[in-house]
């Protein structure tokens, strides 16, 4: 259903029809990158866009939250300080549980990754918000950085022995020969699955919300209550998805890191 409306929306936009679908907007319109401050360096367009603005918000909010809440650093935490401590301990616990003590030096990076995605997802759910994590290029860049970083760490720690990662432990030679290419392929596919998971979740959630919100307008005040309730429920669901996807991205990064540090 979402795909159908997506295509219909795009079609309507393409042919210049500005009716239906929430006042003439296609469900994909919300993902448009709009340059706010045009910056061109050489042949590259590095304009400050709405996407960049929401990244700035995410950074500013994090800085504000941690900056203000940990100003006093009381032994018995205030409410805001508890929030900071809770997030810190949640991610620190995750890193420690999944990568052991050696992985704790990458904790600031994983904490950054978690906060960046979490705030990006949450800010995107605000009305008029923009979800920078709903762009494949953003999630893919993060996933590739994680992939390259993990691979570099793996080779730096184990040298060529890192290739042992692709040989399942305890497997007979005959089976290992068949399994090794599969393991290698699944290793290579990691950045794809990592980036697609986040991108697809954010994209689908926002398209669904937009389509259902469009129904509220077209069905009118009386029947519109049905999609209104649905939008309400799905917004709750999306809040959950926003947190879960940030968690999943950070958790998988931890698991990949663990492979690189401990091999098996």
């Amino acid at each position: 259903m979402a795909t159908e409306n997506m295509e219909a929306g795009e079609h309507a936009e393409a042919s210049g029809h500005a009716e239906g679908h929430g006042g003439g907007h296609s469900p994909m319109e919300q993902f448009t990158i709009k340059p706010l401050i045009p910056i061109h360096i050489g042949k590259y367009d590095l304009s400050y866009t709405n996407s960049a603005m929401f990244m700035t918000f995410a950074v500013a909010l994090t800085a504000l939250l941690f900056g203000l809440s940990t100003k006093k650093r009381t032994l018995v935490p205030s409410r805001w300080q508890s929030i900071s401590e809770l997030m810190y301990e949640f991610v620190a616990g995750m890193v420690k549980d999944n990568t052991g003590k050696e992985g704790m030096k990458y904790f600031p990076f994983i904490f950054t990754l978690f906060l960046f995605i979490l705030f990006g997802n949450f800010l995107g759910l605000l009305p008029y918000g923009f979800t920078f994590t709903s762009h494949i290029i953003v999630t893919a860049t993060m996933a590739v950085v994680v992939f390259v970083g993990v691979t570099v760490i793996g080779f730096a720690r184990h040298g060529l022995h890192f290739f042992a990662l692709f040989v399942p432990p305890g497997a007979p030679l005959g089976i290992a020969i068949i399994l090794a290419p599969l393991e290698f392929f699944s290793y290579l596919i990691r950045p794809v699955s990592l980036s697609l998971r986040l991108f697809a979740n954010m994209l689908a959630g926002h398209v669904l919300l937009k389509v259902l919100a469009g129904f509220i307008i077209t069905l009118g005040v009386f029947f519109g209550i049905v999609p209104f309730v649905a939008v309400f429920g799905i917004t709750m669901l999306e809040l959950m998805v926003a947190a879960i996807q940030a968690y999943v991205f950070a958790l998988l990064t931890c698991l990949y890191l663990n492979d690189a540090i401990h091999l098996h």
Binding site: T49, A52, M55, E85, F107, T112, I136, I137, T141
Partner: protein, 163 residues
């Protein structure tokens, strides 16, 4: 789909790198040290309190053990005192009992001696009375005055036969 418009890729990657770096700086220089400091401090305070509680518990246990030993020593001492006193009392009581029974035995012996003497006296006086009576009876009957020695002998032998 705006997601697949390559003209926006450069800008998105550029600002992602810039903002991610900025956030990394915020997290690494501000959030992690500050929160880490708070958590370390709290863990240290809790550990200190626990250590002190353990130390105090040790002191309490030592005091309790000392109390127990002092108590058992005092109990032993009290028992010794008790036994000593009981022994003293028993000795005194035995001595008194011995004294009293000795004096009682002496008195009994004296009383028995007195009774025996009284009995002898009574028997003697009965012999005398019997002799005199026999003399008086003989004088009345015969008018003769019998020899007192012979009467005594006769009475004595008569009494001996009667017994």
């Amino acid at each position: 789909m705006p997601q697949f418009d390559p003209s926006t890729f450069a800008s998105q990657i550029f600002w992602l790198v810039v903002m991610f770096a900025a956030l990394y700086w915020v997290v690494a220089k501000l959030a992690v040290p500050r929160v880490g400091q708070v958590l370390d401090q709290r863990a240290r305070v809790i550990q200190d309190d626990l250590d002190r509680a353990m130390q105090l518990k040790g002191e309490t246990d030592a005091a309790l053990a000392a109390y127990e030993t002092a108590m058992s020593a005092a109990r032993g001492q009290a028992g010794d005192h008790m036994r000593a006193i009981l022994a003293d009392v028993k000795a005194v009581a035995d001595q008194r009992t011995a004294e009293i029974s000795a004096s009682v035995a002496k008195q009994v012996a004296e009383a028995e001696a007195r009774i025996a003497k009284a009995k002898q006296d009574a028997l003697d006086s009965m012999n005398k009375v019997a002799g005199e009576s026999a003399s008086a009876i003989v004088a009345k009957l015969t008018g003769l005055n019998p020899d007192s020695g012979a009467v005594t002998t006769a009475v004595a032998s008569a009494l001996k036969d009667a017994r």
